[in-house]
């Protein structure tokens, strides 16, 4: 919980001096950032964080977040900034040990809104759990539009026995996904595209490190994992097929999806396979472990609707194919960029 007792006036806003390295900046860091994200390492406010690591290997990643709008059903840019980086670490098999937080804020940005987003960062980090151990704040002049950009970097400890990667994937391997697809993309779309569109769809933004670690600790033969963010499940499957030279067959009737999400996608002309997720991972596992992996995923709060969506095959040329509900087959292509709503 935030330990910050004093409340800011409702209309208080970021000014350039908040990024100027002086007293104003000190107050912003103490009263807002450290207050929300408090931990021993961050409290030092040193030039860098010193972290303990139990393994000889670490994973490092970074990601920048520019979502429009900043707050959307089921999440906000803060939750995304934690989940995105944590999930990149998690799918590499890592146990997150520290995050950095870079804030680029436009002058005029409401402090109350900043606090909401910082609280959301804190809540997501607690859930992992991982500390935000270092950070940076800059204030820029008007012109960003949405007012806030976030970069997070993360470091994770990688156990000696974890070896995942494209080269471990073989024909016959099972492909799992941990739940309903397309929820994040459609939730954000519902506040973006000018439809006057009220929806029960909420973003699936979630940190998956705990769920993934439980698979690894149980000794499941995990070959490869990737979180299906921009480009959706289709993008990840295209990566796998391209990098391994193997084919993939997935089954439409095994793809989990919520009725409201599907209906919104139908309405706007989207293919849910190409729509972004922020709490979904595609997991390639040894077929002998597939059922056990599925059962373990379903034990976890972010894997209740996990499904085995298909398998890796030896097909040549390498293709991702979808067996449709009516028994037809089609090729799933890599999505080619931002999908736009259409009426035709």
């Amino acid at each position: 919980m935030s330990t910050f007792a004093e409340t800011e006036p409702g209309d208080a806003r970021i000014v350039l001096a908040h990024g100027g390295g002086g007293a104003m900046m000190g107050r912003l860091i103490d009263d807002y950032i450290v207050a929300a994200l408090d931990n021993a390492t961050l409290r030092e406010l040193a030039d860098g964080a010193v972290l303990k690591n139990e393994s000889s290997r670490i994973v490092m990643t970074t990601d920048s977040f520019v979502v429009v709008p900043l707050e959307f059903p089921g999440g906000d840019i803060g939750r995304l900034a934690v989940c995105g980086t944590v999930n990149d670490l998690a799918v590499m098999g890592g146990r997150p040990i520290g995050l950095s937080l870079g804030l680029i804020i436009e002058e005029g940005f409401p402090l109350a809104r900043l606090r909401r987003i910082l609280d959301s960062i804190a809540a997501a980090a607690r859930e992992v759990p991982v500390d935000v151990v270092t950070g940076d704040t800059k204030v820029i002049e008007h012109g960003l539009g949405e007012g806030l950009l976030i970069n997070t970097a993360g470091v994770a400890s990688l156990d000696e026995n974890v070896h995942t990667g494209f080269d471990g994937i073989a024909p016959g391997d099972a492909i799992l996904v941990n739940g309903t697809i397309g929820d994040h993309g459609m939730a954000v779309m519902s506040v973006r595209n000018g439809l006057e569109f009220e929806t029960p769809i909420v973003s699936d933004a979630a940190p998956l490190a705990g769920m993934i670690q439980s698979l690894l600790r149980a000794g499941i033969g995990v070959r490869f994992m990737r979180d299906a963010t921009r480009g959706g499940v289709a993008g990840v499957l295209a990566d796998i097929s391209e990098r391994t030279g193997l084919s993939i067959e997935i089954h439409e009737d095994k793809l989990p999806c919520r009725p409201a999400t599907r209906a919104a996608a139908e309405m706007l002309g989207f293919d849910l396979l190409s729509v972004a997720n922020e709490g979904k991972v595609v997991i390639v596992v040894d077929p002998a472990d597939a059922d056990r992996a599925l059962a373990m995923l379903r034990e976890h709060k972010y894997g209740i609707e996990a499904s085995m969506i298909g398998k890796v095959t030896a097909g040549d040329p390498p293709l991702v194919e979808l067996v449709t509900e009516n028994g037809g087959r089609r090729i799933v292509q890599r999505p080619y960029g931002e999908e736009l709503p259409r009426i035709c």
Partner: protein
């Protein structure tokens, strides 16, 4: 495969054997094209039955000159362009609306004509130009907002009208001797407005089987069975297999709206040239909403990319794979021709959902 689908597919195969010659059936509507690809229906087709994608994709048939006009209008300082997402990436000679936005143009994606009107009400200091594309399904919505703008006296709302009529295009296709078709899968949602009787000239004048089809896979398969039955029996009838929403006479209110706002005019189709009486223009009493007139935009004749065969693709003369640009220099990321742009464009749909190169059955 469920039993109903299985029965339909078996029937298609049996009809194809009985017909015993290659058959080309055109799905006129781009949404049918997408549905056919998306549900893998091509992989279920008997050998010898070719599905040809027709001109029913507004993005694909909007003339270059109209895209250019939209981009030019987006360059005005005080203009907000309101467009359906479909049109954002269509390239004209001046680039696309997406590129126009990149250069600082105010281009908003809307999902309803009413949103364009609301933009005009919300921004009285701006001029809103609504890029009105589409066939008879979409045109009544444009008509409704033009009539509303007329009633409410809005003076900052303008329309770039490129609406098109589907039956004249089907007739123009059949007048082309190089086009060889055995039947039409007629668009379901256009037919909601124009009614199934609108295809009578196609059936009667050209003895061409016409079946109005829905969009679900089973609906499409069922309509294909109906078409092949006609072809097998050497019949040419009009059949409505989308009776849940399509009536013989269509939606009279929607047509009335169109009649009030628009008159029928000759209009240019991308890669197909001017087709007589195939488009809609604002009636003189609504000419004050006409963006071209009000902004003094001059239209320039289309010039197609050399080598681009979109015109032949739209007419069903060639498949996208037969175009040398397809997948090479012309891709969804860098579309040279209109059919590669819209996700329902024939080339784009082929690129995205292209039929398996080798047939595998499980």
């Amino acid at each position: 495969m469920d039993s109903a689908t299985k029965r339909l597919v078996e029937e298609l195969h049996s009809l194809a054997r009985s017909i015993d010659r290659p058959v080309s059936v055109m799905e006129v509507c781009g949404t049918h094209t997408v549905s056919i690809f998306r549900h893998g229906l091509r992989s279920l087709m008997p050998e010898g039955v070719r599905l040809v994608s027709g001109p029913g994709c507004p993005v694909c048939v909007t003339a270059q000159r109209h895209i250019d006009a939209a981009v030019q209008l987006g360059g005005f300082e005080d203009v907000i362009i309101a467009t359906y997402g479909d049109m954002m990436r269509v390239p004209g000679r001046l680039g696309s609306l997406e590129a126009c936005r990149g250069k600082g143009g105010d281009v908003r994606i809307i999902a309803s004509a009413r949103s364009a009107l609301k933009l005009a009400q919300k921004h009285p200091d701006k001029r809103i130009v609504f890029v009105a594309v589409g066939f008879e399904t979409t045109a009544p919505a444009t008509a409704a907002v033009v009539l509303e703008a007329g009633r409410t006296g809005l003076d900052n709302f303008f329309v770039l009208t490129t609406h098109k009529l589907i039956v004249p295009a089907m007739l123009a296709l059949l007048d082309d001797e190089d086009v060889r078709l055995d039947g039409f899968l007629c668009p379901g949602h256009v037919s909601v407005v124009i009614g199934s009787d609108a295809y009578r000239p196609v059936v009667e004048r050209h003895r061409m089987p016409c079946v109005v089809a829905g969009f679900e896979p089973k609906g499409i398969l069922d309509s294909l069975v109906a078409l092949l039955r006609q072809i097998d029996g050497k019949a040419a009838r009009l059949e409505n297999r989308y009776e849940a929403v399509v009536t013989p006479s269509g939606n009279p209110v929607a047509r009335q709206l169109m009649d009030e706002a628009f008159s029928v005019a000759d209009t240019p189709w991308r890669a197909m040239g001017v087709i007589p009486q195939s488009g809609l223009e604002l009636r003189s009493e609504f000419r004050r909403f006409d963006a071209l007139t009000r902004f003094g935009i001059q239209l320039r004749e289309d010039e197609d990319h050399p080598g681009c065969r979109c015109g032949d693709v739209i007419r069903g003369k060639v498949t996208p794979a037969e175009c040398t640009l397809f997948g090479a220099s012309c891709t969804p990321l860098n579309p040279l021709g209109p059919c590669m742009v819209s996700s329902e464009g024939t080339c784009s749909a082929w690129f995205k959902y292209k039929p398996p190169a080798h047939s595998k059955r499980s």
